[in-house]
Each structure stands twice: as C-alpha cells, then as structure tokens.
C-alpha cells in the first residue's frame, strides 16, 4: 500500500528529473563565447555549414566574460559532454593546454593555421604552445581613441590628440561643468571602476604610451615593470584627472554607453564600439585615431573539446569556416571586432565606416603588447586593479609623486610575490 505509492512517486520523480535535463545529441556542437554580440556571426557560419552537415545543430551560448571564464574552468576540469567550441583569449587557454585539458588540433587545422598566407606569425604564435597548434585564431581586441568631433570643434580643437600631454590638455578643454564647477561631461572617460582585470588592462594601455609595461619579460620569467617613472607618469595622469583637475569622476557615466549618449568627449576602447554605436547612436559624429605609441592586442582563438569524434570534426570545420572571408567581413561590418586573418579585403568596410581606419591603417612603428600567457595573469591584474581603485579615490595623492611611487612599489611587491609563487619570477 505505502510501497506502491512510494514506487509511483519515485517513477514520477525520475520522470520529472529527466524532464529537466538538457543534453545535446551526437551531432550537436555547442559554442561557448564570452561576447554576446557575436551570436549573429556564429549563426551565419552555422548556416553556411548546413549543406555539408545537414544534421548539424549548432547551439550558440554566449554569456558575460567573467561567467564565461568560470564555466570554461568548471567544464574543462570535469570534462565536457558535448563537442564544445571554446572562444578563449590565447593567454587564458594556455593553462588548460599546459594541464592537458585541451588537445592539439588535427592535422588539417594545423596546416591551415601554420599557412603564412592565412595568418601572421604573431597570431599563429598565440594559437600554439611549444610549436604545436591547439586552436584557430579568429579575431582580436585592439585599442584606439574614439572622439566626438562635434565636441572637439566646439572646444576649438583641431584633430585628435597625439601625445599623452595633449590628451591631458584636450581632457581639460573638453570637460563641461555645471555652475558649481563639477564635471557634467567628462573630457576623457577613463576606466575607474568595473571588472577587476579591466581596470589594470586599461591602465596598462596608458602605461604603454609612456613607454612602460606591466610585466617585464626576462627569458622565461617575469617581474613587475611598473614601479618606475613610466608607471608614475601613468598613475599621475589618472590621479590628476580624477582628484586634481577633476575632468572625470568615478560616478560619472563612462565607457561606450557614455560616449554614445554624449556624456564624454573621448575614450580609448576596442573596435566593437563601432558596431555597437551604429545600432545605438547612429547619428553620433565621431572619429577614431591611433594611439601615440601602440596598443594592446588581445587575440581570441577557437578551441574544441569534448564530444564524439564526428562532432569534433564538425566543430573544427566550423572553426575554419568561421575564417571564411565573407563571414569575417560580415563580422567586421556588423559587430566590429577585428578579424585576424590576412589576405582578406576589408577595404569595402573601411570605406563605408572610416572609423575602422585607426584599427587597420597603422603607422610602421606601432608597438603592440599583449597579456603574457602565464598562469597567474588574472590574479596579478585583479590585485593590481584593487590598488589602482584605491589610488584613484585618494585625493591626497595629487601632486605627491613620492606617495604615488610608494603605491606602485607596494603593488609591485605583491605582483612579484605572485610570480614567485608560480615559479616564474625573474631574478
């Protein structure tokens, strides 16, 4: 009597449990991306493969970057059930490769990547570890200056700033203030809050213009490279802007959203802003300019893991198809990220959207830097960011070079400690 009720309940429960389960079939390929705006692009590539793989079901799952990194960590460490294409920055993928959680790419893919007519050496290297190819390059994040031409004209400024000193001047002239002198429109929107590593990354871009670097490479080892006059110059610029001249404050709207709503005159960001602005503020009058010395380049590659052999083959084919010129041109035009493939004619897009010029027409001596593929890179950036955030909020640092250098030194000590723990501190 109670037994039959119990067994019925058990059967219903199992049924309900299975009802809530989501699994993919053998011919399913899942794409895990950290950039939701690329969904359309992946869907196009999937469609283009429907001839060759009629049963292929591509499930695109982009989420915010931080959660993306978390799910990749969890998924790879415990093994992925379905064939999954992972969109990863080269430096992040490194740790998985080193721990044998991502396997080398099959031969056909290797040949494709190693072909110099497909990719430049810089991008090939990001997809390789110790000479073996593990992934397929697809796009990169690269910075440039975005500036509102109307606001510059109103302030009597001709053309974009070309030195860090001019950046400060422009920022001061472009800031609009209210009756009490508080800034209402920031001259130059800086990354003062938001996303642990992001703050450090953006600081590094400015640091780079002063000739400095966050991490100095010494053979296979690294050390903190910012507790010096370059770091001081960069930090000073921030502190003066926030606490000194007050051209920007923490609570002001920032980043692309602010730029699109004309709440800031200029800011440095990657090319996706172009695609985003076309959708959200199509009437905005703005141009782009190259940075004084060079820019960050964060190459993103596609890796494949999990699933049956045939699903994996389909997945790799997808990664290569994603590099078809027509899809890359579409991505550049509609989303704005920069494709890495060489030999594709982007001139049509650049002609229609001249703002891309600052990303592709680069001076000969433009210097790139990228995040080193070392294990503790995330932690180093996040902890440095914490020090920076405190420094930005500290009004007593204005004009106090010694104190600012102290802040940098304290943080550099922490950075070196982390490097030491990972066994890669340079002597």
């Amino acid at each position: 009597m109670t037994k039959s009720i119990r067994s019925r309940a058990l059967k219903t429960a199992v049924g309900l449990l299975l009802a809530g389960t989501v699994t993919a079939n053998a011919q399913d390929v899942v794409i895990w991306g950290g950039f939701p705006e690329l969904t359309g692009y992946y869907e196009r590539v999937a469609e283009s493969l429907s001839g060759k793989y009629p049963d292929l079901n591509v499930i695109v799952e982009p989420i915010g970057l931080r959660d993306h990194e978390k799910r990749v960590a969890l998924g790879l460490s415990s093994g992925l059930d379905d064939a999954t294409i992972l969109e990863l920055i080269g430096s992040t993928a490194n740790r998985y490769i080193v721990n044998d959680l991502i396997q080398p790419a099959p031969e056909g893919v290797s040949t494709f990547v190693n072909d110099d007519s497909n990719f430049e050496a810089f991008f090939q290297e990001t997809a390789k570890v110790n000479g073996t190819v593990y992934g397929v390059p697809v796009f990169r994040g690269q910075g440039a200056l975005f500036y509102n031409t109307d606001m510059l004209a109103a302030a009597g400024l001709e053309g974009p700033p070309t030195t860090m000193h001019e950046y400060d001047e422009y920022a001061a002239k472009l800031t609009q203030r209210d009756a009490d002198g508080n800034p209402t429109v920031s001259g130059w929107s800086l990354r003062l809050s938001g996303g642990g590593g992001g703050i450090a990354e953006k600081f590094w871009i400015n640091l780079h213009q002063y000739g400095g670097t966050l991490l100095e490479k010494d053979g296979d080892n690294y050390r903190a490279g910012y507790a010096n006059e370059h770091g001081l110059a960069a930090l000073k610029q921030y502190v003066d802007a926030v606490s000194g001249v007050k051209t920007v404050t923490v609570e002001m709207p920032a980043d692309a959203a602010a730029f699109q709503r004309e709440q800031t005159a200029m800011f440095i960001r990657e090319s996706w802003v172009i695609g985003d602005t076309a959708k959200k503020a199509p009437d905005l009058n703005y141009k782009t300019a190259v940075l004084p010395r060079g820019s960050i380049a964060l190459p993103v590659n596609l890796y494949v893991s999990g699933g049956s052999d045939e699903a994996q083959t389909a997945a790799w084919d997808f990664a290569i198809a994603a590099n078809e010129p027509e899809h890359l041109i579409w991505m550049l035009d509609n989303v704005g990220w920069l494709p890495n493939r060489s030999g594709v004619d982007y001139s049509g897009v650049v002609a229609a959207k001249p703002q891309f010029g600052a990303f592709v027409d680069l001076p000969e001596d433009y210097v790139f830097f990228t995040l080193p593929s070392i294990e503790p890179i995330n932690e180093i950036l996040t902890r440095f960011a914490a020090h920076l955030v405190d420094a930005y909020a500290d009004e007593s640092l204005v004009g106090n070079d010694a104190a600012m250098l102290e802040v940098l030194k304290a943080s550099a000590e922490e950075t070196n400690k982390i490097l030491n723990r990972a066994g890669i501190l340079a002597k």
Partner: protein, 295 residues
C-alpha cells in the same frame, strides 16, 4: 523486545535521510577541510599537501582581509538593524492583531523575503543610482548633495546592509510575532494591574522573555549575513554595463580564488575560516542569550 523493535525502526527510518545528508553535507564538508591543506589549481591531477600554508598566506592577503572586514560589517550591521526593528514592528503588529489590516501587515513585511534576490537587488540598484535614482533626487529636492551611493567604499557597504536588512526584516517580524503570541498573558495582566504602561511592559518584560527568539533571529541573521553573495554580486557589482564599486565579500573572494585565480585549496582554506567564524559566533550568541530568561 518492544524497545528493540522501536530502535531498529528508528534506525531504518532515519537511514535514508542520514545517507542523503552524509553524501550532500558531511562528505563535501570533510572534503573542503581536506582541500584546505592542499594546493590545487582545479585543472591538474596533482594536489600537493601544503599543511597550514594556505591559512598563513590568507592572513597576509589584503584582499581576503578586505573581504573579511566587509562581510563582518555587513553581517553585524544587518543584525543590528534587523533585531530591534523586527522586534518593535512585531510588537506593534501584535498589538493590532485585531485590526483588519493585520493580514496586510504580515504579508507586506514578509514579501521582501520571498522576492528573488536578483530582482530585489536590481530594484535597489536603481534607487541607489547616483545619477538616475530617486534617492538622490529626493535628497537634492530637500536641498542636500547627491551622494555616490554605489561608488563610495563606505556608502556601498551601507547600501548592502540596507538591502540585506530589508530582506531579513520580514523573517524576523514573523518569528517575533509567533513569540509574542506565545507569551504568557497572565504576567502582563499582573503588570498592567500594577500600573505599567505598554511601553514599560514591552521593555522590561517582553524583551527578556523573548530572549530565545532573539537568539534564534540573531543566529540566523548573522549566518545569512556572512553568506551574503547575490546581493553584492548584483548591487555592488562592477560589470561594465552597470558599474559600481565592487564590495568584496567572503563568498565572492572564495569563488574568485577558485575559478579565476585557480587556487581551489586556497579558497577551501577561506571556507574553513568562514566556517570557524560562524561556529564561534554562534556559540558566543548561545552563551550570551541562552542562560537567562529562557524557559
């Protein structure tokens, strides 16, 4: 004989629950304790034993100390707000039990508790928004200065305390209401005959008699305060779309150490510290509030 039969029934009946418990609670807890003494980067096969190194390193880690301070402030802050307020509110609602609005009061007070955390935090995020939120609008309307609620390190913690208290208030009120209902009427009638007014009988009689309830509410509030995560994640999050100053709390630090810095052993050590603190505080509360006045 009879007792034996009952004993075996008891053991058999409790076995399924205990088995589940063992698997979903005891085993992972022991595993966490074990992991805290090892170093593991989540990905590799080897987990070298490091003894107490993780703990030693934690106390020198200023991000962890930050998280610890923030979490403690939030937990105690929420408790300090919730207990007196819910006691007083419950007293008033109890006094008005016969009002036809009593159902409305009970419901309204508890609704914040049942609303999903994320929508609630988003509601408050808008209210606290420095540039767009009604809170600053009201302040400026009254002639004051707009405050950067979610950006200032002190203010953002206060915002979280607010949010957490708002959510736990209803729970506290309900439990206190039950407590009030169970208070012996005779003692209060006697006091009234002696000339004590409502306020006096509340302060000198209800409060001490409600000690066991206060103990329970304070333990629950403190524990959930130390576990705060979703509120910080949403309200004081630092995502690009809705920036604010990230308030570092213990659970957030733990998850970041596990999944972004890939130091699971280190995070487990943090978990052990969290556990020890909670246990210690619970025992202290029991010591303080249990001995006297309870029944």
């Amino acid at each position: 004989m009879l007792r034996r039969k009952q004993f075996w029934f008891a053991i058999m009946a409790i076995l399924p629950t205990f088995a589940i418990f063992g698997w979903v609670r005891l085993f992972p807890i022991i595993e966490t304790l074990r992991l805290s003494m090892h170093e593991w980067n989540l990905l590799s096969k080897n987990k070298p034993f490091v003894g107490f190194q993780n703990f030693i390193e934690l106390f020198g880690d200023n991000q962890f100390m930050d998280a610890l301070t923030n979490t403690a402030v939030i937990a105690f802050g929420a408790m300090a707000v919730t207990i007196p307020m819910s006691m007083v509110l419950a007293a008033i609602i109890y006094h008005r039990t016969r009002s036809r609005f009593s159902g409305f009061y009970e419901t309204a007070v508890f609704i914040p508790h049942v609303v999903s955390l994320v929508p609630a935090a988003m509601a408050w995020k808008w209210i606290f928004d420095a540039k767009l939120g009604p809170l600053n609008a009201i302040i400026m309307g009254l002639g004051g200065d707009a405050l950067p609620w979610l950006f200032d390190p002190v203010l953002s913690v206060i915002c979280i305390i607010f949010l957490v208290s708002w959510q736990t208030l209803g729970y506290g009120v309900l439990i206190y209401l039950v407590g009030f209902r169970n208070l012996p009427k005779s003692v209060f009638e006697a006091a009234q005959l002696d000339g004590a007014n409502g306020f006096q009988s509340f302060l000198y009689m209800s409060v001490p008699l409600l000690k066991p309830i206060t103990l329970y509410v304070s333990v629950v509030t403190l524990i959930s305060g130390f576990n705060v995560y979703a509120q910080a994640y949403v309200l004081a999050s630092d995502t690009q779309g809705a920036p604010g100053r990230q308030v570092r709390v213990l659970v957030l630090d733990m998850l970041e150490n596990s999944f972004q810095n890939f130091r699971v052993g280190y995070a487990a050590a943090e978990a052990v510290i969290l556990l020890s603190i909670v246990l210690l505080l619970t025992m202290i509360q029991f010591g303080l509030l249990r001995g006297k006045g309870g029944r």
